[in-house]
Structure formats: C-alpha cells, structure tokens
C-alpha cells in the first residue's frame, strides 16, 4: 500500500490499536472508497492490528479496558466491511458459535472473543447472552459450525457449561466441534472436568489453540 491508501491504512491500524471507534469507521470507509479489497483490509490491517493488541496485552502493557476498546474499534470496522464479503468471496477458516450460557447475562468476555476470532478469519455466529444448551446445539447444526465458545462470569452459571456439552453429546454433535469454555472463574481443570477442549487464559490464547487444532495456522 502506498500514497494516501498507505496513510489511511496506517490510520486504521493505529485506530484499532488505540481503540478509537470513530477513526476506525472513517478510515475503513476511506480505504473502501480508495478501492481496497475488504479481504486485504482484514488480512493486512485489522488482523495485524489485533495481533499487536494481543502482544501488548501479553507484555502487560495493555489491560482489559484497552482490549475491549480495540475490539470495539475492530467491530466498527467489520460492520462496514461485512456487506462487502459476499461480493468478494471472503474465505473463512471455519464457523464459530459463541454465546454466554443460560442464566448469565454478562457479555464483555464473550464480545472480546467474538472480535478476536473474527479478526483471525473465522465466521462468528454470536448467540448473545442467557443461551440455553439447546440453542448452542441448534446453531451448530444450522451453521455447520466447527467451534462452540461458551462464556460464564459467575461460579453458579459456570455449571451450565457442562450442560451445553451434555446437550452436544446427546445430539451426537460433540465430536464434530471444538468446545471452548471461557469466563473469569473458568480454570483449565474445570475445562478438563466437563470435557471441553480449549481453555485459554484469554481470547488470544484460545484462538491460537483452535487454529492449531484445525491446522489453519
């Protein structure tokens, strides 16, 4: 990228890293006007920017508030780009179904995971909050999903994650999907106990593990 497109691309990269939603929207629109392919915007700007954000977090320079603001800036850009995907035949790594489990209406962590997975080229179906096990299972069938991400913030609702896995088993879907269990009280031991596949300290680690499991590094 050179000239004005290069400048605008740098602006978008910075907007994502700084978590500036408005700047992100403006720069994304400008890049489209300048004729840039939405795929290139994602792969050459958004994904590297989100990776940079992940690196800053892992170094301890960024905390969750910065991550969330960057995710919001990323989401704002994606909203503008999404209508262009069909036209450009955007390839997706796999479909991931995300939701906060039944009885829990917290979505901060889930939203961050959605942004990170989208950034890495997954097609994410966001089921929202208070999602019953049946809805997770139905969404897996409907969207032919390979990944199920379930989030819980409270120790009492964390128990619901087991029910989601049981429901997937009951419908014969368990072996077809990679199951991620996330949320503040969730530990690696809990993930093993309920028979999920992936526990990441954070969304960045989770996406790395999932890509490895799918062989799409």
């Amino acid at each position: 990228m050179s000239g004005t497109a290069g400048e605008t691309a740098a602006k978008l990269f910075k907007a994502i890293v700084d978590g500036d939603e408005e700047l992100s929207r403006g720069a994304t629109r400008k890049l489209l006007e300048e004729g840039l392919d939405p795929r290139d915007i994602i792969t050459q700007i958004l994904v590297p920017a989100m990776r940079k954000v992940g690196e800053l977090y892992e170094k301890g320079e960024y905390f969750i508030p910065e991550l969330v603001m960057s995710a919001e800036a990323f989401r704002a850009s994606m909203e503008i780009l999404r209508p262009h995907f069909k036209e450009s035949g955007m390839p997706v790594k796999a479909v991931a179904v995300f939701g906060t489990v039944r009885g829990d209406i917290h979505e901060l962590g889930k939203n961050l995971a959605v942004a990170v997975f989208e950034a890495e080229g997954f097609q994410v179906v966001d089921l929202g909050v208070d999602v019953p096990p049946e809805k997770f299972a139905e969404a897996v069938v409907e969207h032919n999903a390979r990944i199920v991400g379930m989030s819980a913030l409270m120790t009492t609702t964390m128990l619901e994650q087991r029910n989601v896995i049981e429901e997937l088993k009951r419908r014969g879907l368990r072996d077809k999907v990679i199951v991620i269990a996330g949320g503040a009280p969730v530990t690696e031991e809990w993930v093993k106990e309920i028979g999920a596949d992936v526990w990441g300290r954070d969304a960045f680690e989770a996406v790395r593990i999932v890509k490895k499991m799918l062989g799409v590094e």
């Binding site: 301890g60 905390f63 969750i64 508030p65 009885g103 209406i105 917290h106 901060l108 962590g109 208070d130 913030l153 120790t155 009492t156 964390m158 128990l159 029910n163 503040a184 009280p185 031991e189 106990e193 954070d202």
Partner: protein
C-alpha cells in the same frame, strides 16, 4: 461505652447518591427477564420504556417507608439469636462454593454431600459464627435438587440460623416448605435468610426476580445482593459503582414491598473489582470494600438492616494473603456494624471453601468482634493501680481485680500462636488449624434434628428428589 466508629459518608453525601440512584431508576430503569414480574410491576403503576421498567421516586419512597427497620433472627429451635438492624455482626461462612480445598492439597476438588455435612458440623462448633450458610454445592447430586439439598443438610445438623438461596424458581417454595417442616412459625420467628442478586448493570434475571417475589409472598427475609463489578459491570469509579449498587437494591426493595408491604428485606451486596488485567472479580479489593462501607451508611440512613460479603479472601491457598484479606475485611465488618457478614472460609473469588480457613477465620471474627465491642469504663482502675503500686510491688497478677476481670476483658484466641518460642518445633498454624478441625469433627455432637420435625423434613426432601425420579441419598 467507648466503641470504634466507622463512617464513610455524611448525610448530605448519602442523600446525593440516593437522588442520583433515583434519577437512574426514573430515566434508565431496570430490565426484567421475567415478563410476569415485569407485568406485576406495571399493574402496580410503574411504567415501561424501551423494554425497561421505570421506578418512580414516590414508589421507591413508599417502599422504603414500609420495609421493616428491625428483623429478629432466631435459631432453628426458636431461640432469639440477634436483631438485625442493631449493628451486631453475625458472621457466617461464604455460601455456594463449588469447590473445597483439602489440607495439604493445592488443587480444590468437587465437594460431596459429606463435605457439606462436615462443614456444617464444624461451623456449629465454632463460636465466631453465629449463623450457618449453605456453604458448599454438592457435586454428586443432580442440578435440579442442588440448592434445596444443601438446606436439608444444614437444617438437619445445626440449630444456627442460615443464610441460603435458591438456584431455581421451582425449588424456592419447596425450600420454604423445609423451613415450615422444621418450625411452623418460620414467618413469625425467621431463622433463614435467602440471598437474591440483581444482575449488573440494572437487570434482574428470571430466577432471582421470581425468588424475590416468592420470598416477599412467603414472608421470608430476602437479602438483596447487588454485585457491581468495578470496571466490568459497573463504572470503574467507586462513586459510580455505589450509585448503580444503590439503584439496584432500591429496585429490589420496591419489588418486595409491592408484593407484600412490610416483607423483611436486608440491604446487601457483593461488589467486586473486575481486575483490569486478569478479568477476575476481586472481592477484597480496597475499592470493592469502599463500596461496601459506603452502602452500609446508605442502609443505615434508611434504617435498614445491612449485609456485606466480608471476612473472606481471593487467595488460592490458606496463606498470608488469605489471612490478610479475611482479617482486614472482618474487622471492618464488625467495626462498621454490618448485621450480617458472609464470607469466612472462602477463597478464590467466592468459589472455594476450606475447613482449615474456617477454623482460622473463626479466630479472626472473634478478634474483630472484640475490637468492635470496645470497652467499658472501669471505676476501680484508679484504686487498683494505687494498691498494686503501693502494696503489691507493681505485680498486677497478684491483685484480685485481674483475676475477676481478665476473662471478660481479654479475648484469648485458641488456634493462634501467641506463646513464647519453645524448644519444641511447633507445627505450622495451618497444620494446627487442620488438627483442630479434625478434633471438632471427631468430638463435637451437633444438635441433630429428630422426631416429628425430622420426619416432616424428610418427607419434603423426598418430594424434592421425586422431581428427578430418585430416592434421596443417606446423609
């Protein structure tokens, strides 16, 4: 009698926070997942805007005027234990832990019914805990019966009052049936408090809102536990979290009083700091504690009994951090005059219980209680000093005043190392706490429920287990 006093907010500050909370309730309102509860509120004159119920100031004011100022709390057998609203702290174990940490282990495990029974027996014997709680969630019983099964164990093995809660809409009336089985006059002489939690920010889930309605209808004390998570589910500032917390609790009080004027409610809370790096909900963070101390002043302003999650720790082991966090929050609870303080025994963001920590927290709670008690004026002091200096060569131990007074004046911990360094190598305090817990479990004979009352309770439990098509296990 001189007593330590801890006040954070002035009257003007309380009124300012209250008016901001009212403004939130009137303009933003509360979202109800349960449409029946929403309809009930609309039928009672509240308005719906953008799918959220707006609470008018006059409706809140009327509810506050009807909520009881004092709630006498009894034990299982009908003896008065305390009057909530008088500021004498009742410490009880933190509730609903999904793990237990064994002595010598660094990995918490899933608790069984037997662990809950042991915990109840231990707490029954520890004088620092004036109440029990349904402290562990037994992993081997089906989800559909977990909440009520916990209550059964506590009612059977201890007479102390109970702090509990339901995980489902269906089981709450059955849990109240358990109370009725144990004592017909459970309403007139309450011995169980149920926690209900709004979901921050400014929402009530189906289960908790229905629980709150049912508790008001059945006349059982409800503890409204707002849970702002600073920086995650509430503003990151202490002030912002207090405003949100107060608005949520006010909505709960209004619901309960609309269902049944005079229904017993306790102003509670469990604020946390959502750690900006780890995303954990840190309950003993100074900012969370400041929110708790502030709402205590707000509750007192409205003459409401008050509860806090204090005397607990976010540590992963029974270590320095665990002791420090439990001790500093327990002392604040007692000195600030919380009526109910839940938390002892707990580790790791309200998810793990430990028998050893309960033994040590018992000591911490007794010390906190002692500090809060203050001291009385000793009219004999001058004369005693004169006599000891002039007649006893400065030896106060040789004066009868010392012997007569020391037991009531001095708090003497049992499992606490205050002896001089001896020749023998002492076990660690944690080891000592473990031995004490084991000794109590061997020797303590809890006041088990028996006769007709146990038969009635067993019949309610049988009904509970019929829901999952099983017979109740022996415990």
């Amino acid at each position: 009698m001189p007593r330590p006093v801890l006040t954070l907010l002035s009257r003007d500050e309380v009124e300012e926070i209250h008016s901001k909370a009212i403004s939130l309730l009137e303009s933003v309102g509360i979202f109800f997942e349960d449409k029946e509860v929403e309809k009930f509120l609309l039928d009672n004159g509240l308005e719906l805007k953008n799918g959220r119920v707006l609470f008018r100031e006059d409706a809140v004011r009327e509810a506050l005027s009807k909520a009881p100022r004092k709630i006498p709390l009894y034990d299982r057998d009908g003896n008065l234990v305390s009057v909530l609203g008088e500021g004498k702290t009742i410490f009880n174990p933190g509730s609903a832990a999904i793990k237990i940490l064994d002595f010598g282990s660094s990995e918490p495990r899933n608790p069984q019914l037997k662990d809950l029974k042991d915990l109840v027996v231990l707490v029954d014997a520890l004088p620092g805990f004036k109440a029990q709680s349904t402290a562990l969630v037994p992993s081997e019983v089906p989800n559909e019966v977990k909440d009520a099964e916990r209550l059964y164990v506590v009612l059977k093995y201890s007479a102390k009052p109970i702090v509990t809660g339901a995980f489902t809409v269906e089981n709450l009336p059955l849990m109240v049936d358990m109370l009725r089985a144990v004592r017909e006059d459970y309403r007139a002489r309450p011995f169980a408090i149920f926690d209900v939690c709004p979901t921050p920010p400014l929402n009530w889930s189906r289960v908790t809102s229905r629980n709150l309605v049912d508790l008001a209808r059945l006349g059982v004390p409800a503890e409204i536990i707002s849970m702002p998570g600073l920086g995650g589910t509430s503003p990151v500032t202490v002030y912002g979290a207090i405003v949100q917390h107060h608005a949520e609790v006010l909505s709960g009080i209004t619901i309960s009083q609309l269902v049944s004027p005079g229904a017993p409610v306790i102003y509670g809370g469990s604020p946390t700091q959502i750690h900006p790096y780890f995303g954990t909900a840190v309950i003993t963070a100074p900012e969370a504690v400041l929110v708790t101390l502030a709402y205590r002043d707000i509750a007192r302003h409205f003459s409401l009994p008050v509860h806090g999650y204090l005397g607990l720790s976010d540590a992963k082991a029974v270590d320095y951090q665990a002791g420090g966090e439990a001790a500093y929050t327990a002392v604040l609870a007692a000195v600030a005059g919380f009526d109910v303080a839940s938390g002892p025994g707990m580790l790791e963001f309200e998810s793990v219980q430990s028998l050893e920590k309960l033994v040590l927290d018992n000591e911490v709670c007794l010390m906190a209680e002692r500090v809060a008690r203050g001291f009385s004026v000793d009219a004999e002091a001058l004369q005693v000093i004169r006599e000891v200096v002039l007649e006893k060569k400065g030896n106060f131990l040789a004066h009868k005043h010392t012997r007569a007074k020391y037991r009531e004046e001095l708090h003497l911990p049992r499992v606490w190392d205050v002896s001089s360094r001896g020749k023998e190598k002492k076990p660690s305090l944690l080891h000592w706490a473990h031995e004490e817990a084991q000794r109590i479990l061997r020797e303590h004979k809890p006041p088990m429920l028996d006769g007709d009352r146990l038969a009635l309770l067993d019949s309610v439990r049988k009904r509970l287990w019929e829901r999952v098509g099983q017979s109740p296990p022996a415990i």
